[in-house]
Each structure stands twice: as structure tokens, then as C-alpha cells.
């Protein structure tokens, strides 16, 4: 198999400034990964096109890191096929066009930030200028500091710099903002958004819906090794349910659950908690019926609660 036959030779004509081919950036077909008796991924199908910012969202242990490890060729799938830029993931040509920030990775602690960026840049046939990478990652002034003496947040920024230095077409980030404070996290989001604005495809894993919502154009929710939702942030949030209604009323919860727009009903004594995508319609029925209702409150659901519900819902 030659590189040309794997990559496809037809140029992609949307953004002539960037060297993209007709092949999807990432392509998983029936990707399955078993570790002994544990099935970490159970047949994932995922196609990512150039220019997308995709979040893989899921709770800890959902299979996010396993999925990224397969895409990066760090592990081989038990079944299914993986293509990275149309190539097998471990192909040097694919590696030259991808930058990655992993969850558990290290560098020799005795080397400095500047030395490491320079060293990693030399691995790539074409790379960004060291000073540019250092500035973009927010490491200006820390060039001479040894990696072993960086704070947790600075370390994350160094790994981000090492992911960027090869001027990659695709950047893969596994839980990139773990250990960052709120301010650094927002700065990080800004830089990723800029990267994407300049044509870099971004794929990142996170367990924070807020992060996926802030950055991504597409959210793929994974739970128990399966894709359970795939869509725009608005779609995923809508599917997760929009509002919570608390009410004291003598109503059968199973009846309420059958109303359109209701996601879930829970009863505690005479109080009902109703999760609804269309709160207004549900309120209309509550007040329009013969039953006496009182103590009604309606609240916008926190994104995290909505996400946890989505995960819980897909467990059953």
C-alpha cells in the first residue's frame, strides 16, 4: 500500500491555504477495544471532517482516552478500523501532521522549556517558530525554566506547546484543562478557538459539558464505550432536557411522564420534580387541568446536571 493510495490524492478545495485531502481527518469504523474482560470501547463509528472542533464528552471511565489512544495509534483496536488523515494512525506521515496532548505524559525534568520546544519542533518536517509556539502557549519568560520546576498549570501549557510546535493539521487534546484554574482555562479556550479559526481541526476529550459547550462545534457523548449522543452543543443540550419544574400537586407521576416534552418525573411525598425540554407546555397542562397545583418553581438546569442526567439515562 502506498502513501498516495491511502491518503487519496484529490485536493479538498474549501480552504486552499491548508493542505487537506479528501479523506476525513479521523475515521473510526466499528472500533472496539477490550482489555482482558473489560470492554472499554464497544464498536464506535466516528467520522471527523477538516475544520471541526469536536468534543468527546463523557464521565471518567467512559472510554474517551481509549478512543483517543486508538486514533493516535498508541493502542491497536481489538476489532474495527482506524484511519488518521486517511492513513493508519502509526504511519509517520500521519504523525507528522498531528499534534497531541496526552493525559499521562512526561518529559525529562532536567531540560528547559525552550530546549524541549526546540527539540520537539525538530521531530517534524515543518514546524512553527519556537518563539511563536512559546508565545501562543503562554510560556513567554519561562523559556529557561527546567520542566521539573514548572507548576501544574505551566506544565499543561508546555505540553500544549509541544502539541502545537509541529504546525499540525489536527490537534488532539486529552482532558487539556485538568489542573488549570478558571482564568487559565478560559485563556486556553481562546487559543484553541484561534487555532481552529486558522484551519486546524481540533479533537478533545473532556468530562466537563461547560468546556465542550464553550469550545466545540460538535459534541460526541460517550458512555460505557458507546456513542450515546452526537450533535451540535445546542442539540445535545436540548436532548439532555432544558428545565426543572418543582410543584406540589396530587398527580400520578407516570401520567405526567407521558406528557410531551417531559424527560423524567420524580415524586417525593406530594412534591413532583419534572425535568422537561418544553417547560411552557408542561406548565400549561399543569394549570389547565382540574388538579390543584401550588408552590410552582421553574429553574434552568445547570449544564452539569443535564449532562449527568443524559449519562444516567443511557445507563438503563
Amino acid at each position: 500500500m502506498t502513501i498516495a493510495s491511502l491518503a487519496g490524492s484529490a485536493p479538498f478545495d474549501a480552504t486552499p491555504a491548508f493542505n487537506v485531502t479528501s479523506a476525513p481527518v479521523v475515521e473510526l469504523r466499528g472500533a472496539t477495544k477490550r482489555y482482558g474482560a473489560v470492554e472499554a470501547l464497544r464498536g464506535i463509528d466516528l467520522v471527523i471532517q477538516p475544520g471541526e472542533i469536536t468534543a468527546i464528552l463523557g464521565p471518567n471511565g467512559a472510554g474517551k482516552t481509549t478512543a483517543l489512544s486508538l486514533i493516535l495509534g498508541l493502542r491497536s483496536p481489538t476489532a474495527g478500523t482506524i484511519r488518521l488523515l486517511g492513513l493508519p494512525p502509526e504511519h509517520p506521515e500521519a504523525r507528522a501532521r498531528v499534534g497531541a496532548m496526552l493525559q499521562e505524559s512526561g518529559v525529562p525534568p532536567m531540560l528547559t522549556v525552550g530546549e524541549l520546544v526546540e527539540l520537539f519542533s525538530s521531530y517534524y518536517p515543518h514546524s512553527r517558530r519556537t518563539a511563536d509556539v512559546i508565545a501562543a502557549a503562554g510560556l513567554t519568560g519561562l523559556e529557561g525554566r527546567r520542566a521539573g520546576r514548572l507548576s501544574g498549570g505551566q506544565r499543561q501549557r508546555l505540553f500544549f506547546a509541544l502539541a502545537l510546535c509541529g504546525d499540525p493539521e489536527l490537534v488532539i487534546l486529552d482532558e487539556p484543562t485538568t489542573g488549570l484554574d478558571v482564568e487559565s482555562r478560559r485563556h486556553f479556550w481562546d487559543v484553541v478557538t484561534e487555532l481552529a479559526a486558522h484551519g486546524t481541526t481540533v479533537l478533545f476529550a473532556t468530562h466537563l459539558l461547560e468546556e465542550a459547550d464553550a469550545l466545540a462545534t460538535r459534541i460526541v457523548v460517550i458512555n460505557h464505550g458507546r456513542i450515546v449522543r452526537d450533535g451540535t452543543p445546542a442539540q445535545v443540550k436540548a436532548q439532555a432536557g432544558g428545565k426543572t419544574i418543582h410543584v406540589r400537586a396530587d398527580l400520578d407521576p407516570t401520567l405526567v411522564a407521558s406528557w410531551p416534552g417531559v424527560v423524567r418525573v420524580e415524586r417525593t411525598g406530594s412534591r413532583l420534580e419534572i425535568v422537561a425540554t418544553d417547560a411552557e407546555a408542561v406548565l400549561g397542562r399543569l394549570f389547565g387541568g382540574a388538579t390543584h397545583v401550588e408552590e410552582v418553581t421553574v429553574e434552568e438546569r445547570a449544564l452539569e446536571t443535564a449532562f449527568l442526567d443524559l449519562v444516567k439515562e443511557t445507563e438503563s
Binding site: G73, E104, P108, L111, Y124, R128, A136, V191, L195
Partner: protein, 268 residues
């Protein structure tokens, strides 16, 4: 992260020649070890220190049949030194890197694994050269006189020997947990230094021990180098070279197979 990022992201990068990565990788290997003084102390200073306390007063003493005590000590402590460089500089280093996740990060870059591992060999060669040259200077200063050509040939042989011993370091690095690398290294270093003659002349030991010693690469490397310095040892150049090279190839093949077998598990 600042407002400059938009501009810097758009700026064109630079093309870098492929061999630069290997040169920088080798330089980084040297630099990191130079900055870790405990390593330099253990691997380079220890053989010099041993030579000083054991050999200083007796170096010029002639050995019956040819050569000097100093020549013998330079040879055996060089072998001790180059072996400990391979074990700590390659074995211990790779075990640490596996634990920390360095290798995982390098694997997602286009740097070939061979270049990464070969850079460690460059370090072994540089550190071994330093040990052999410093011991040679110390030997000459204490009365172990040799013609320059003989000295250079012996140094070259020891250096080639260090390359043949280095795959043992890769085996340790790929197989041993970082916490036990130090202990395992000692378990390898001590017997292999013994058979090189570090503690006593191997020919003074019981026949059974000698027969076991003759299976080790360090015994044959030591005998070969000793005979080059004029010492009366039962060297059989072709047999000795075959043992050293055979060990080198066998351990290199084993290290390669283990790397291939475990690359997806231990390194990822």
C-alpha cells in the same frame, strides 16, 4: 497566553532538516545527564575513585610475564565504568521514562523510535570515552606506561566493547520497573564486573567459578584488552571477540523483540 496569539498562529513556520532531530535528541541526552550530577558521580567518578584507592601505589609494579598492575586496573575499571554507564544511562533512564510517560509522548510524534534509542547510544559512547580517557590519564600518571599506539588500540577495543554491552541496558529499561531498576542494575553490574576481574584476578578463583565466568561477555572483553596491554593472560582473540559480539547481538535482538512485543502495552 496573550493577544499576540492570533498573529503568531498565522505566521509561517520553518522547514527543518531531518537529521537535526537526531542531533538535538543526542544533545538533549547529554545535557540532561550532565545536569543530574548524581549520575555523573556514580558512573564516571566511581571507577576513577576505585582506581585511585586500589591502584595508586601499585600501578607501576610489573606483573611477572609482562605488563603492569596499573594496566590491568585501567582495563578492569574501564569495563566496570562502561557497563555501569549502559545500565544507568540507558536502563535506569528508560525505566524512568516509561513510568513518567516520556515515551508515550514521543511515540505520537514522527520521530522514529530508532532515532530516540540511538541517541542514548551516543550518550553511552561519549560517557564511555570520558571514562576510558580519564582512567588512561590516571594510569599513565601513576606509572602504567604503554606505547601510545597500544594504548589507543586498547581504548578503541574497550569503546567497541561498551557498544556490545549496551543492549543489556536496553533490556533493563524495557523490562524492569523504575523502582527496582537500581537494584537490578547492581545485580547485573556486580557479577559482570567480577568476571572482568574488578575485585580479583579471575584466574585465582576456583575452576567452577572460572568456568561460569567464561560464559560472560565482560570476561572475554577483559582478557582481550589485558592481553593487548602485554599482560600474560590466556587470550584467544577470535574466540573472545566472538563471545563479546555474540552477547551483543543476542541481547540486542532480545531487546528489539521485547520492544516490539510490549510497545503497545507498556509504552502506551
Amino acid at each position: 497566553m496573550n493577544t499576540l496569539t492570533l498573529a503568531t498562529m498565522a505566521r509561517p513556520g520553518v522547514d527543518r532538516p531531518p537529521l537535526r532531530s537526531f542531533a538535538l535528541q543526542a544533545a538533549a541526552e547529554l545535557r540532561r545527564h550532565l545536569r543530574a550530577p548524581d549520575f555523573a558521580m556514580a558512573a564516571i567518578a566511581l571507577p576513577l575513585f576505585f582506581y585511585t584507592i586500589i591502584g595508586m601505589s601499585r600501578a607501576a609494579e610489573p606483573v611477572p610475564g609482562g605488563g603492569t598492575v596499573g594496566g590491568y586496573l585501567v582495563v578492569v575499571f574501564s569495563i566496570f565504568g562502561v557497563l555501569s554507564v549502559s545500565l544507568s544511562g540507558i536502563g535506569h533512564t528508560i525505566a524512568d521514562e516509561r513510568a513518567r510517560g516520556d515515551l508515550r509522548l514521543v511515540r505520537v510524534t514522527p520521530l522514529p523510535a530508532a532515532a530516540y534509542l540511538a541517541a542514548k547510544l551516543v550518550f553511552v559512547l561519549v560517557a564511555s570515552t570520558a571514562i576510558i580517557v580519564l582512567l588512561g590519564i590516571e594510569g599513565a600518571a601513576t606509572g602504567a606506561r604503554l606505547p601510545l599506539a597500544t594504548w589507543l588500540a586498547t581504548a578503541g577495543l574497550l569503546l567497541a566493547g561498551s557498544l556490545m554491552l549496551s543492549p543489556i541496558g536496553f533490556l533493563v529499561g524495557f523490562l524492569v520497573r523504575p523502582g527496582s531498576a537500581g537494584a537490578v542494575n547492581l545485580l547485573i553490574l556486580m557479577p559482570l564486573s567480577l568476571t572482568a576481574g574488578v575485585f580479583m584476578d579471575i584466574h585465582e578463583l576456583p575452576a567452577a567459578v572460572r568456568q561460569i565466568a567464561e560464559l560472560t561477555p565482560t570476561y572475554h572483553l577483559s582478557i582481550l584488552a589485558q592481553s593487548m596491554t602485554g599482560l600474560p593472560v590466556p587470550a584467544q582473540p577470535i574466540v573472545d571477540v566472538a563471545w563479546v559480539v555474540g552477547w551483543g547481538i543476542a541481547s540486542a535482538v532480545a531487546a528489539l523483540l521485547i520492544y516490539r512485543r510490549f510497545v503497545g502495552r507498556q509504552f502506551a
